[in-house]
């Protein structure tokens, strides 16, 4: 059994910003919200892994990406689960069977009629034109080929998973149709062989076929979609590599692999009022989840589709989440319940497919203080009872301390500190972690202290700061942390709030006259004396915070502009510091 359940490597999730018609016509690079910008972490089996950070830091996006709910820009997520059962399952068995039957029926019917009448059908069909050898065989082959081409195209369009086999069918079909030779029959036989290979259960019970899969145990989520099981290129046989291709399924559409994944990874949302459908009863919510994820038995029927069985399971779930008596809650409309009870239903629904990993996205943030503890306790109890692993997303460091074994602290799409919760709370290393811990209000009026808070707010994730993303707010920043042109402008703006600097504002301002470009900030000197402006800028820099002032490379006149340029930032890499990973130049 694997000990590491989730392995995230250099994950990047970007959300494209809306661009209007004109913008799109004019072109130019699309802009993205860099919600998650290169994070790596692992989740061990059976632990509570906390993703902690302020709003907009990407913690929810990171959590959702584990379910395949977000597009992935770069990197990969590997989820490996212990195998649940060894029974093979049909995917879309009905469609596949129907396709085979239809194809064989059409072929056989035409073969029969063509042989009997001896008609020269070639003229009627576009692919059967080369009638060099007379007789019904040619026509029959032409027709069979044509049907195959059409069938292959249809399969290709309808079922994303069957693109490669469809292409294969269509290709061979076309070949037969054009060749229209008696030995085409041989090719036909090969094709039948392939279809049989694709459509029959594998006696050895291994995950091997496109059309037939075992309950998947390993999923790899990448930019291209979800690669399932052993289907990664290096693990495939030459036959699979050449004729079937990687088992890639686009995340955007519905897919069987995605559904398998969702049965293993479930999510508890923050807002229970929005997570439940007001038109459904509690029982219906649970039934939907139970039925949608019921295992499919060979032959295509879902195993426990009988209503009584499903209802019994739903009642058991309600009992497990502490909604007692369960039969009373079963019939309730979700709108008739309090926030805490609704959240319990959301949890029960998440447990319905018997997941192994539960992403809890701020599960208690919307609940009242007096019932938060109970829901947290329930989550911890269920973890033992169901053998779950949690990814616990929260902005509340105090809650995270109570429930998490290991935590990762995120800031603006990056992991700033990650490791054992105990160690991080005892001795936070990253300045941001320290700031977060300090900002938590202490419910003890006798211990009031003045807090040293970082200035400002979380910057825009479309244009994250250079270097370390926390540097503009960091109390212990270094000159190499990534200072750039806009930091200088922010400093000027902040400085000019003070009325005593109004003459400087008159000389250098307004702030709109300044332009910042990456490492530099500049302003036209056509208005005013260039020497005075340079002197003013230097005077302002003298009073600037030390790291900012020291990071300035030079202040110079270039043509008609005064330019303040900064030195490039030092390379920032995650480092191991006292048993945890920290991304900070201090270490």
């Amino acid at each position: 059994m694997p000990d590491v359940l989730v392995r995230v490597r250099d994950l990047k999730v970007y959300y494209p910003l809306f661009r209007g018609f004109v913008q799109r016509l004019l072109g130019g690079g699309a802009r993205f919200v860099r919600a998650v910008d290169g994070i790596s972490f692992e989740v061990q089996r059976g632990e509570v892994f906390g993703l902690v950070g302020e709003s907009g830091c990407g913690k929810s996006t990171a959590g959702r990406s584990l379910m395949g709910l977000t597009p992935i820009e770069e990197g990969e997520i590997v989820l490996e689960f212990p195998s649940a059962s060894a029974k093979p399952q049909f995917i879309r068995p009905r469609e596949l069977k129907m396709a085979c039957v239809a194809w064989w029926a059409v072929s056989a019917a035409y073969l029969a009629t063509a042989t009997y009448y001896g008609v020269s059908g070639s003229a009627l069909f576009p692919f059967g034109l080369v009638a060099t050898v007379p007789g019904p065989y040619v026509d029959a082959l032409g027709i069979v080929g044509s049907v195959q081409v059409l069938l292959g195209l249809a399969l290709w369009l309808l079922r994303p998973w069957s693109r490669r086999p469809a292409r294969l069918l269509a290709g061979i079909g076309a070949a037969i149709a054009f060749a229209s030779l008696p030995w085409g029959l041989l090719l036909f036989g090969v094709e039948v062989g392939i279809l049989v290979y694709l459509g029959t259960p594998d006696p050895s019970g291994l995950v091997r076929r496109q059309g037939l899969l075992l309950p998947a145990t390993k999923f790899t989520l990448t930019k291209d979609g979800i690669l399932e099981g052993i289907a990664r290129a290096e693990q495939q046989t030459w036959f699979e590599r050449w004729f079937i291709g990687p088992r890639t399924v686009r995340t955007a559409g519905f897919s069987w692999v995605l559904k398998q994944l969702r049965g293993k990874v479930q999510i508890v949302y923050q807002d229970p009022h929005a997570a439940l459908n007001p038109a459904l009863t509690v029982g219906e919510h649970l039934r939907h989840a139970l039925q949608a994820h019921a295992p499919i038995a060979p032959g295509g029927t879902r195993a426990s589709s009988r209503l009584e069985e499903v209802n019994a399971k739903a009642l058991k779930l309600l009992d497990d989440v502490g909604l007692r008596p369960p039969d009373q809650f079963f019939a309730k409309q979700s709108t008739d319940m309090s926030g805490g009870q609704k959240q319990r239903v959301v949890i029960a629904r998440a447990l319905a497919p018997k997941p192994l990993l539960l992403v809890a996205d701020e599960p208690v943030a919307m609940l009242d203080m007096s019932i938060r503890a109970k829901v947290l306790e329930l989550l911890l109890d269920l973890k033992e009872k169901y053998g779950l692993t949690y990814v616990f997303i929260t902005h509340d460091l105090a809650t995270a301390k109570l429930v998490c074994d290991r935590i990762a602290i995120m800031y603006l799409g990056r992991l700033v500190e990650a490791g054992e919760a105990r160690r991080i709370y005892a001795d936070p290393k990253h300045p941001y972690t320290r700031a977060l811990l300090q900002a938590i209000p202490i419910p003890d009026p006798s211990r009031r202290t003045k807090k040293e808070l970082p200035k400002g707010e979380v910057p825009d994730a479309v244009f994250p700061p250079a270097g370390c993303r926390f540097h503009p707010r960091c109390p212990v920043a270094l000159p190499t942390c990534g200072w750039e042109g806009r930091d200088f402008l922010d400093y000027l703006e902040e400085r000019w709030i003070d009325p005593s600097n109004s003459d400087e504002e008159a000389a250098l301002g307004p702030i709109e006259d300044w332009k910042s470009e990456d490492l530099g900030a500049s302003r036209s000197v056509r208005k005013g004396d260039p020497e005075v402006i340079v002197a003013r800028v230097q005077a302002a820099l003298k009073e600037a915070p030390k790291p900012l002032a020291e990071a300035v490379d030079r202040v110079a006149l270039e043509l008609d502009r005064v330019v303040v340029s900064f030195r490039p930032p030092a390379r920032l890499e995650p480092k191991e510091v006292e048993g945890r990973i920290v991304e900070c130049l201090l270490y």
Partner: protein
């Protein structure tokens, strides 16, 4: 000096299913330069109480009792008199700064509108001078006056709201969950700002929140509300040291902070205000409930100096 004196305040909302009593005979006092923290769970009536002070409740609400402020009884006062008070003597900061500023108006127009509402012939230059003063106080660059609310971050918007509330140097500021939608660091920033402004402007502040940590850090007096009633009232230090009402005890125990080792919670669910339990509304969840608790609501007693509590455990 008592700034605000609320006595026997009742607020009920008319609804199809019958009246919802959101505030029931509440008594509160706020002194000048003092922060009163009003704490309670969602639906306990704390926001209604805050809005009742400025009489900005919806038409379905009926208010009785008395709210004495600035020489007026705000319950009986007429609309023109109330208008003079709102935004001038008493201001309100709402929970969600994202939605409370008009997206179609620049910051300048927000301030102009407010100032002209009270002084119709105010000169724009003079108004902007005042605006600059309050914006400086909340550290917003005054040269961003002509920007729209969406161009500011959440914390900055809340600071603009605070600046709007401060234009006329009000004596009372009602802050209704002022930081609930903000991040922890920004929350601490805003509350530190409010604290320093309170001292600078000598205001009384009613801080409505569900977060006991904030009360502990920023309030001097506190009142705990449950199902429309004020369960307990007193100085913050004393209440945290020795909570009297079982609900206050339960609430303090259920706070999760960095030193929490064990989780505590109050059994049951907060009551439905349409059909509140008889007697003390807390009795179905109370660990020390007695037979008498189901009868009538307990009288408010004063078991300690400066403390009041409504519970049968503390008979007069």
């Amino acid at each position: 000096m008592t700034l605000l004196d609320i006595e026997g305040l009742n607020v009920s909302y008319a609804s199809r299913a019958g009246p919802i009593r959101a505030v029931i005979s509440a008594d509160l006092k706020i002194e000048a330069g003092q922060t009163l923290g009003l704490v309670g769970e969602s639906g306990c009536g704390k926001s209604t109480l805050g809005k009742a002070i400025l009489r900005i409740l919806p038409d379905t609400a009926t208010v009785t009792g008395s709210i004495r402020f600035a020489g007026l009884d705000l319950v009986t006062a007429e609309e023109p008199a109330l208008r003079k008070i709102r935004g001038r003597n008493a201001s309100l900061i709402f929970q969600d700064p994202m939605t409370r500023l008009d997206p179609l108006m620049t910051v300048r127009h927000h301030f102009l509108e407010l100032i002209r509402a009270h002084e119709p012939d105010a000169d724009e230059d003079d108004a902007m001078k005042r605006t600059r003063r309050v914006l400086t106080a909340v550290r917003i660059p005054p040269d961003r006056l002509d920007q729209f609310p969406h161009e500011f971050s959440g914390g900055m918007r809340q600071r603009i709201m605070i600046a709007l509330a401060l234009v006329f140097n009000p004596t009372l500021l009602v802050a209704d969950e002022p930081t609930t939608s903000l991040d922890v660091i920004v929350e601490a920033q805003i509350l530190q700002l409010l604290d320093s402004i309170k001292n600078e402007f000598e205001m009384g502040v009613l801080l409505i929140t569900h977060n006991l940590g904030l009360i502990a850090e920023y309030a001097e007096e506190m009142a705990v509300m449950y199902a429309g009633h004020i369960a307990e009232r007193g100085p913050v230090r004393d209440v945290f040291k020795e909570p009297l009402h079982p609900y206050t005890k339960g609430l303090l125990d259920s706070v999760i902070d960095l030193e929490t080792r064990e989780l505590h919670s109050i059994p049951g669910q907060p009551p439905d205000l349409l059909q509140p339990p008889s007697g003390c509304p807390f009795h179905p969840r109370c660990p020390s409930a007695m037979p008498v608790c189901t009868g009538a609501f307990p009288p408010t007693t004063r078991p300690r100096r400066d403390r009041t509590v409504a519970c049968y455990l503390y008979p007069g």
